[in-house]
Amino acid sequence: MTLESKIPAGPLQDKWDRHRFELKLVNPANKKKFNIIVVGTGLAGASAAATLAELGYNVKNFCIQDSPRRAHSIAAQGGINAAKNYANDGDSIWRLFYDTVKGGDFRAREANVYRLAQLSVNIIDQCVAQGVPFAREYGGLLDNRSFGGAQVSRTFYAKGQTGQQLLLGAYSSLMRQVNAGKVEILPRREMLDVVLVDGKARGIVVRNLVTGELESHSAHAVVLATGGYGNAYFLSTNAMSSNVTAAYRCYKKGAHFANPCFTQIHPTCIPVHGTYQSKLTLMSESLRNDGRVWVPKEPGDNRPPGQIPESERDYYLERKYPSFGNLVPRDVASRNAKEQCDMGKGVGETGLAVYLDFADAIARDGRDVIAGKYGNLFEMYEKITGEDPYQTPMKIYPAVHYTMGGLWVDYNLMTTIDGLFALGEANFSDHGANRLGASALMQGLADGYFIIPYTIGGYLAGTKLPEVDASAPEFAESRSQIQSQVDKLLSVSGKRTVADFHRTLGNILWDYCGIAKEEESLKKAKQMIAELRAEFWENVTVPGDAADFNQALENAGRVADFMEFGELMVTDALERKESCGCHFNTAYQTEDHEALRDDDNYCHVSVWQYTGADSDPVLHTEPLEFENVELTQRSYK
């Protein structure tokens, strides 16, 4: 098969305008004849559901939590990028486009990224009009700050709670449409299958998490906005319910999966402190503006930090990267922290942490200035660790944070299943091999407010869609398959809990398919995951009933999918014999230990097709063509 990206012809700047003109339109009076399912209520899902309802479509919007306001977009701290150039510091749509393509290490589509940069300015206007309380200057205008990977101030923010405020903005628009009768919210539902009729996505099957009932819902198109799969690693900065199940079940039905091994590991997180730990907490990367990263020079030096004299400390980022210092990009900072810990220089009880020290900044600027910049982060750190970062250096370590990979989509955000669209972190489209800070919020909202409302119209207007309702046999077949998996999970009655299996899977992925990868260890991981998966189906224990509120059962289904998906991640990592962005294979590095791309052989999207439970997936590639930027080697010396 060939992957048709459907990127419009013409100059980069004109592609989206031209495409919008060429897309067929649905007559305003006819929009109410179409039913659309949106799964997920994060920035992408809520903005899509609200906007489609505003246009006149009938929308059913599903979420896994008890309220659409809780989706994990809410936890994003830092900000949202937009090429407004309010700071008059040389920003432009072109610069945001270039920074994003380069930040992604040249593994994203030019046309998609350019469109994202164009739409970024509309997003800010939209959010302000909704009443999002962005930070402002004394004159009443919007304030900006700078973020990693950019030399301009283009990040809009609302203290350290930008994601929360943007999500509540989208949620308020959504609630308005609920009140107008155009959106039906179905909370506490988990999507377990997409249903195809005549090869087109015509509905979904969900499990009602309160009653356990499997429900069928039909529609003319299905929009997936179900987030990323970082929780495959067990420990990540994701919310506990973030999972791959919805996307993975679509993959099994024929939606191809792109770049599954592209996982972003964020350098500044609070380190793991015990085997019982359930999640990791991010500390905004803005801390690296003033914090200095160091470890003891001697391996095994376990004196308290205050007793290690200056001459016996190694400020390794400043030493190795004199021009960028502590502000190297996320992937470089993460790899270096791991390298120091692997040499035995890690600190803390586990030896898996490095110091982030504010003593010099406090001595230079005073405690009040530092508190003004980072006060809420310092408080959060103290709440979790019981240590006061004003007195003693923070301990930080990298953690899984964001997944650039996702369902493959064309320029219309449609997957390889007709009528199934994927938005936000659930798709692969805009961040290449590494996402820049403050770009996830931008992409989720661009997809939901400004792209899908156009492209879904083009699909609906140009496609013959005979009426289908939930009584179609395809739904019954899907329900019966799901039911048999649920029954199987409950009937194993083994000795190990779901969480125990999940933790083991996470350790394998973290150790062998994490910050730095090697061919031999990837092969080993693949074998280990296959064995773990076999044991799962013989030895898992899932208490309770199917027809009940049963959180262990919910988790069991998700972990079962994570295990299959984990194998796909490893397969993808093995296949990509280069390093790029966050994908770092130690066999492919420059003399300076930077990621060494192989543009001759791997300047493509790796797109995987499911072929069955016991056969290997088939790889397709979508070549990436760069007509407007030159491919360069990143260096931060």
């Binding site: 809780r70 309380p133 009443g140 628009s173 609630m175 009140n179 909370p187 019982y276 400004f450 959180q551």
Partner: protein, 251 residues
């Protein structure tokens, strides 16, 4: 950080279809690291219950970093426990002592029916927002973001009100199970911004009406909500809501 372990006794509210009236059950929680969060402690107890063939305790949780508003329980009589401005997921076990007995109950309010154990249905909070907690604009072509200057002071006040995470602790803490702090926060957030003024009257009237019809009680100035709010939302937001409501009702 000095990691210690403590032994605790939990008295946990258990309620589901086989036990519809609900009851407190006692479970030991042994060897709990003081670095654990409260929810991680519950995870450990649940693993142990599962191993013993007892159904684990159902509780809502998601982000575990204090922002999604999904978690919450009444711990020893206090919503989200005894630490100020802390959600249950950010409450750490170092604030408990070896040998403590901890009583854990769900939010209790007529408008929040119990689904199972510590899990309640907070759909009524969404319904209050549906009644008017928004600015009526469609996605499309609004004016430039900087076309509407907002005094910094007002922007900050609006932000402080908008910081509400919708967890429902205010309702659980209130002797009248009132949602005034929740509704007041949203009404204030939007009333403080120029974008929100055109609909301010309609919003105040319809959101207050929704609160009444959904079974929430009224405010009798106990200020328990402010004391328990994990985000430090002030009861000034209730006063502001009352002003908006009176202005609207009199005009």
């Amino acid at each position: 950080m000095s990691t210690q372990t403590i032994d605790l006794t939990l008295k946990v509210w258990r309620q589901h279809k086989n036990n519809p009236r609900g009851s407190l059950e006692t479970y030991p929680a042994k060897g709990i690291s003081t670095d654990m969060s409260f929810l991680e402690m519950l995870d450990v107890v649940n693993e142990q219950l599962t191993a013993e063939g007892i159904e684990p305790i159902a509780f809502d949780h998601d982000c575990r970093e204090g922002i999604c508003g999904m978690c919450g329980a009444v711990v020893n009589g206090r919503a989200h426990g005894h630490m100020p401005e802390t959600t249950l997921c950010q409450l750490h076990m170092r604030h408990f002592k070896n040998g403590d007995t901890i009583v854990i109950e769900p939010w209790r309010a007529r408008a929040f029916p119990v689904i199972k154990d510590l899990v309640v249905d907070r759909n009524a909070l969404d319904k209050i927002i549906q009644a008017g907690g928004y600015i009526s604009i469609n996605a499309g072509g609004p004016q430039d973001g900087n076309a509407i200057p907002v005094p910094r002071d007002n922007a900050e006040k609006a932000f402080n009100a908008a910081a509400c995470i919708g967890c429902g602790a205010c309702v659980a803490a209130c002797p009248n199970a009132s949602a005034m702090l929740f509704a007041g926060a949203k009404i204030s957030h939007l009333a403080l911004l120029p974008q929100g003024r055109p609909e301010a009257k309609k919003r105040a009237l319809s959101m207050v009406r929704a609160m009444d019809t959904l079974g929430f009680g009224n405010c009798s100035n106990e200020a328990e909500c402010e004391a328990e709010c994990p985000k430090g939302i002030s009861i000034r937001e209730i006063a502001r809501m009352n002003r908006e409501f009176i202005k609207a009702a009199l005009s």
